[in-house]
Structures are given as structure tokens and as C-alpha cells.
């Protein structure tokens, strides 16, 4: 297609030919294409991250809400895409949205709970200061602990358990030494232990 004088003078980023999109493209390249309206690039990112996002949500949200929260995350990604700046890694940006949407889910749930006159024990899974640890099952206890620990602790645990990355791969992804990653991992597991408290695992 012939470009106008102005297009040649001022090349715009949406002059990318969709056939140039390749499965080997980095997340950041696909995100750039998607920002410029290329649906195929967004689908590429969606297919790349659906399983990881779904399992991250599953590790932190009650099973009956996993699908809704996952859907809300990808809708938020579409809406926030114009704001993505390539200074950040795409997965860091995406997992920030995951954390934000999960926090939003618990905020809404908490507000809803405030309107509920009576609560069953199951409805009191998270965030209640007086619940009895012993009465909660292992899944709930681990989910609660994962939600309570700092982001960088949670991230390293999920990278190992859900993304299936080796400690060396985690170190490379985070630009840290292997020793630093192993140390962080142990502190993260210790933090989970502290959060879980007296629950019989």
C-alpha cells in the first residue's frame, strides 16, 4: 500500500504489517503490536499467559470464583493496554494487573460480606481476624498465606511452582544471583509458614 507523504514524513507505529507478527516475538513486541490494534498480537499474548494467569488465580481465590476473576484480569489487560510502556517487562506489568484484580475481588467480597447478616465458616475464609485456623482446610490456609505475604515473596514461590521455572531461570528473569534467589525463596517459604501458623498441613 502506497504511503502518503505525511505517513512517510511521520512514520506512525501502527504501520506494522500484521503478517510480520511471529510466534517467536517477545512479549514486549507483541504488546506493542497489540497496543496498535493488532488483534493477532493480543491473541498471541493471551494464549501465552492464559494457563499461568488461570493457575495463579486458582492459587489465591476460592475455586468458584477463579473463572470470573481470570476473565476480569484479561478484560483489564485489554483496557489497560494503551498504558503499557515498554520500559517494563510485559509479564511484570501483567502480574501487577493480576494482583490488582485479585485485591479488587477481595475488596468487593468484603463489602458484600458487610451486607450479609449471617456468615458460614466457609464464607469467612479470608481476612477475618478471629477465625480458627484449625477449622480451615489446607487449600484455604495456603491461599490465605499466599495472599498475605509480600509480593516479591509470593512471586518467587509462584514462579517456581506454577510457572515451573528452575531457580536459575528465576534468577535470570529477575536479574539476581542464584544465591539471592534461593535465599529469597527460603524466606518466602518461612513467611508462608508464619502465616499458616497452627494449621495442620
Amino acid at each position: 500500500m502506497k504511503k502518503s507523504f505525511l505517513q512517510r514524513l511521520l512514520p506512525l507505529t501502527n504501520d506494522i504489517n500484521p503478517t510480520m507478527i511471529s510466534a517467536d516475538d517477545s512479549d514486549e513486541v507483541l504488546a506493542k503490536y497489540a497496543q496498535n490494534g493488532h488483534r493477532e498480537a493480543f491473541i498471541g499474548l493471551y494464549n501465552r499467559y492464559l494457563n499461568k494467569v488461570y493457575n495463579r488465580v486458582k492459587s489465591r481465590v476460592p475455586v468458584e470464583n477463579v473463572e470470573d476473576v481470570t476473565q476480569e484480569i484479561f478484560i483489564a489487560v485489554i483496557r489497560s493496554l494503551p498504558g503499557f510502556r515498554n520500559e517494563a517487562r510485559f509479564n511484570t506489568w501483567l502480574y501487577t494487573i493480576v494482583n490488582r484484580q485479585i485485591a479488587e475481588f477481595y475488596r468487593q467480597r468484603s463489602r458484600h460480606r458487610g451486607d450479609t447478616p449471617t456468615l458460614s465458616l466457609e464464607e469467612m475464609e479470608f481476612g477475618e481476624p478471629s477465625y480458627e485456623h484449625d477449622q480451615l482446610d489446607e487449600t484455604v490456609a495456603i491461599q490465605k498465606a499466599l495472599n498475605a505475604i509480600p509480593d516479591h515473596y509470593r512471586e518467587i514461590v509462584l514462579m517456581r511452582f506454577i510457572d515451573g521455572l528452575s531457580f536459575q531461570e528465576i534468577a535470570d528473569a529477575r536479574n539476581q544471583t542464584l544465591e539471592a534467589v534461593k535465599s529469597l525463596f527460603r524466606r518466602a517459604v518461612q513467611a508462608i509458614r508464619d502465616e499458616v501458623g497452627e494449621v495442620e498441613l
Binding site: N14, T70, F74, I78, T139, R186, V189
Partner: protein, 146 residues
């Protein structure tokens, strides 16, 4: 410090072995953390793909959402372009009026020749500056609107 590093290495090795399905003994200091790791494996250590009906439904929902978002962005762009065009027209009108005001009037006498020459030069510079400003503004507008 050395002992801490050994514990870090041992816990990492234990995690690797556990996720591979191999057995490994842990130092007494790490027994509690080993329990947490086994629990983590049971709860989050077996990632599964989302159920097919959900995947299909989600893909459809996101397709619709994508279309909607693109339409909204296109409308926003059109609004911005309209504002820009109106601004450009206003700038051109101002430019024309400025030129008309600065042009020498018909009753100029011959002994003002030097002054007229000065005015023409000034008008040329003014037009060039305004056109340059419009061009620069247009360039930055195109570059940063996305």
C-alpha cells in the same frame, strides 16, 4: 552465613526433587518448611489448563471486549483529530489576520521604503515560525497520542 547458604541450597534442592517426584531428606532445621513445601505442591504445584468450556467462553468474551475497546479508541482518536483540526483552522485564521495587520497600507509614502523592507522580512519570519510551531505540534501530537 555459610550455614545459612547451606540451608538455602538444601531447601532449593528439596523443592526441585519434590517437584520431580523424587524423595530427599531434609535437615532438622528445615522440617517445618518441608511440610509447607509439600502443602504448596498439593495446592498449587500441579497447574492445570482452564476447562475447555471456560476457555471458549473467555475467548468469545475477550473478542467482544477487544472490538469494543478498539471502537472506543477510534472514537476518541476522531474526537482528538477534530479538536486538532479546529485548532489548526484557528491558528491559520490568526496567522492570516496577523499578516493582514502587518502588511503596509496603501497610503504608505515612498520615503518609508526602508521600513517596508523591514516589515516584509518580519512577516516572512513570523509565517515561518508559526508554520514551524504548527508542524512541530502536529508531529508531537501524532507521536504521543498512542
Amino acid at each position: 552465613m555459610e550455614h545459612e547458604n547451606q540451608l538455602n541450597d538444601q531447601l532449593a534442592d528439596y523443592t526441585d526433587a519434590m517437584l520431580k517426584g523424587d524423595a530427599m531428606l531434609l535437615d532438622d532445621d528445615l522440617q517445618e518448611l518441608g511440610t509447607v513445601l509439600r502443602s504448596l505442591q498439593r495446592v498449587v504445584g500441579k497447574p492445570t489448563p482452564p476447562p475447555t468450556p471456560f476457555h471458549t467462553r473467555l475467548t468469545q468474551t475477550l473478542n467482544n471486549e477487544w472490538q469494543k475497546a478498539q471502537q472506543e479508541r477510534a472514537q476518541a482518536r476522531q474526537r482528538q483529530q477534530l479538536v486538532w483540526r479546529l485548532g489548526t483552522v484557528a491558528a491559520v485564521v490568526v496567522l492570516v489576520f496577523t499578516v493582514l495587520i502587518l502588511l503596509p497600507s496603501d497610503n504608505t509614502t515612498s520615503n518609508t521604503g526602508t521600513a517596508q523592507g523591514g516589515n516584509e522580512w518580519l512577516i516572512f519570519v513570523l509565517v515561518a515560525v508559526i508554520l514551524g510551531a504548527i508542524g512541530t505540534a502536529y508531529y508531537w501530537f501524532q507521536k504521543y497520542r498512542r
